[in-house]
């Protein structure tokens, strides 16, 4: 895939990762204590869930930072050059293309001429052969 499309895909990936991170955290976060007046929420003991949330958040934030680093790397790999430089190069290439095209045409014409001559010669030679070998 060309690099601009890769960059666009990477931007979309970063957006998706951020979305997933916040969504998962909001869905899985344990209840939080609002004020010292309210009683402590009942300590339900699926302790593996709390551990999971901590690990997940670490993993997801690592993935986010990783995606951002990849974006930076792709940006560094962009082969950019000025528009004028490109237009100049295109004009040069067009001129060279014309010249090479003319030479190709010339060679082609000369080759076709030679082909015709050789065919003529061949016809004459064949005729002479036929005339020499008269059936008797």
């Amino acid at each position: 895939m060309d690099i601009i499309s890769q960059l666009q895909e990477q931007v979309n990936t970063i957006a998706m990762l951020a979305l997933n991170t916040f969504g998962t955290l909001q869905r899985d976060a344990p209840p939080v204590r609002l004020s010292p007046d309210y009683p402590e929420p009942p300590a339900t003991n699926p302790s593996e869930e709390t551990v999971n949330v901590a690990e997940q958040s670490k993993a997801m934030s690592a993935a986010l930072v990783q995606a951002a680093k990849k974006f930076d790397m792709l940006v560094a790999a962009l082969p950019l050059s000025g528009e004028d430089a490109q237009l100049k190069r295109i004009a040069e290439l067009q001129a060279e293309n014309e010249a090479v095209g003319l030479e190709l045409e010339k060679q082609l014409e000369a080759a076709e001429l030679e082909l015709k001559m050789v065919q003529e010669l061949f016809n004459q030679a064949a005729d002479n052969c036929l005339n020499l070998k008269k059936p008797d």
Binding site: A15, V75, Q86, V100, L104, Q107
Partner: protein, 173 residues
Amino acid sequence: MTTATSSSYPPPPPYYRLYKDYERDPASAPDPPPPIQGAFPLFGATYTTDVVLPTLEDQGVRQLYPKGPNIDIKKELRSLNRELQLHILELADILVERPSQYARKVEDISLIFKNMHHLLNSLRPHQARATLIHILERQIQRRKQAVEDIKKRREEARRLLKESLQIVDGQLR
């Protein structure tokens, strides 16, 4: 009910009558109209033939990176990336401290994304020119190769002719 359905679609345009004698006399029919240039309406919507990327202001989106003819796109993309990371972090912080004020932050993040995509889209004409350069270079290379091939074959043919001439001469003597 049938009148309603029959009048809701317009009839096809009546141009077919102009081509009644086309088989006998092709010149009697009018030429097709030339291709349209510029803007044209189609089924109530306006379309345009010269395709240009609309600026962010046209879409009502604030432009975060500096305007002007020559900007360093790589630098702008990198700084937008940093801004994005910072905003995501701030969003996480807001969700912890002041959860009801998330909307503004989310809007900011989407603004940054729109700017990034617009910058990337503005690179496409550059890519098109680079593709053109690549195509021209390949074509020049192929043409040069063809010239070399033709020269080689001509040489070969001339050599064969000379050889056969020598053989024929040898046989005559």
